[in-house]
């Protein structure tokens, strides 16, 4: 299989898995949760976000992902029929498609967060907190800390190689992008650690800690994956093998996004919320 065919296969898999398979699973998971916690039994879950809005949102999300999948299949078809342009243009076309996919996903996550923030919590009169300070570093296990440091060093090494062998400008641009995304990860993790996320206030203290640990580990995980990805791109750039990049980038995006979706599907509401709080006649919050 030559590199162009490999890229087209990976692009096709990207369309099928990220725009068809996972949205279908996500939608089924959401629908399953709505059926498990109906408004008749759990009215407080739907105060700021009625169940009709949920179904409308899921239908809209499914339609958008189908439209993106159709667009992706048209692009793959056109590229296989007309042949691939030079590597840089191929990467631009692929990245533009990934931006559309990610935008749709970001919209879904944002809407889900908005709906969670609208949960009725004001009838809970007892608020509980731990008398223990939390820091980003304390929430991170030693292997994660080592992984972050090693990945940063590896990334710095390959960016330096890129700067020496190809272009300082390209190396700096990639360094700035890496720093910006890493900074955003740290900023978000720190926000969760400080408890500065509205939805955390509906959680039990132990669930709050689980969420914080997961959020910090996800941030560290993202930084490691980003550094390794940038290292690979810098390595192939420095060795003058730009023609390998479309296949590598499409493979990396497919693996990374699948991993993100898979991890999201493992998270369940029951892990974080005392669902009895949202029942019609709940006094769970008042009793604690």
């Amino acid at each position: 299989m030559n590199l162009d065919t490999l890229f087209l296969v990976l692009f096709f898999l990207n369309v099928v898995i990220i725009s068809l398979y996972f949205p279908d699973r996500i939608t089924r998971t959401y629908r399953g949760a709505l059926e498990k916690y109906p408004p008749t039994e759990f009215p407080k879950l739907y105060v700021g976000w009625p169940i009709e809005d949920w179904y409308q949102f899921l239908t809209r999300y499914r339609r958008i992902t189908l439209a993106i999948a159709a667009l992706g299949l048209v692009i793959v078809g056109a590229l296989s029929f007309l042949g691939l342009p030079e590597p840089r243009s191929t990467i631009v076309i692929f990245c533009a498609f990934v931006v559309a996919q990610s935008g749709c996903n970001a919209w879904r996550v944002k809407m889900a967060q908005k709906s969670l923030a609208a949960l009725q919590m004001d009838d809970i009169s007892t608020h509980t907190a731990e008398l223990r300070p939390r820091t980003v570093f304390a929430c991170l296990s030693t292997p994660y800390k080592i992984a972050v440091v090693v990945s940063v060093l590896v990334c710095c090494y390959f960016l330096a190689q890129l700067a020496i062998h190809l272009s300082l400008g390209k190396a700096l641009t990639m360094a700035v992008i890496t720093l910006a995304i890493s900074g955003l990860c740290v900023f978000n993790a720190n926000k969760v650690v400080r408890g500065d996320v509205e939805i955390m206030q509906a959680m039990l203290p132990q669930s709050r800690n689980t969420l914080i640990t997961r959020a910090v580990m996800t941030a560290a995980d993202t930084i490691v994956r980003l550094n390794l990805f940038i290292s690979v791109v810098a390595f192939f750039g420095a060795t003058g093998n730009w023609h390998l990049l479309p296949a590598i980038i499409s493979g990396a995006v497919l693996a990374n996004t699948s991993y993100e979706f898979f991890r999201e599907l493992q998270i369940r509401g029951e892990d974080f919320f005392d669902m009895d709080r949202f029942r019609a006649s709940s006094t769970a919050g008042l009793l604690r």
Partner: protein, 124 residues
Amino acid sequence: MEVSIDIDSDIPPFAQLVKKIRAAVESGELAPNAPLPSIRQLANDLRLNHNTVAKAYRKLEKERIVETKSYRGTFVHRDALANCATDASATAEAKLARLISKLRLDGLSDSELRSAFSNALKVT
């Protein structure tokens, strides 16, 4: 160690927080020099205004039950347990009671005492 605040209680949240931290120190759940959460973290977790938690910390700091070490955060005071025994409010009440008895002996009525107390508060 957890702390709970009942926002529907007649006792103000800041007073509840002071009481809970003081009780935790007295019971030994919070050891001397133990770190306490930042104002922001505690306020977010308890869904309280940051100023409410800051006020509670300030009161505990005045009573030398907690201490703030510049940028390192807030810690339980090394002499917190001993300082807990000295209840500032109870001490103030006892001193005022002694003063009021003395002033009554001097012939002042309750309304004159109230007025004098109110004026003195305004002046200081």
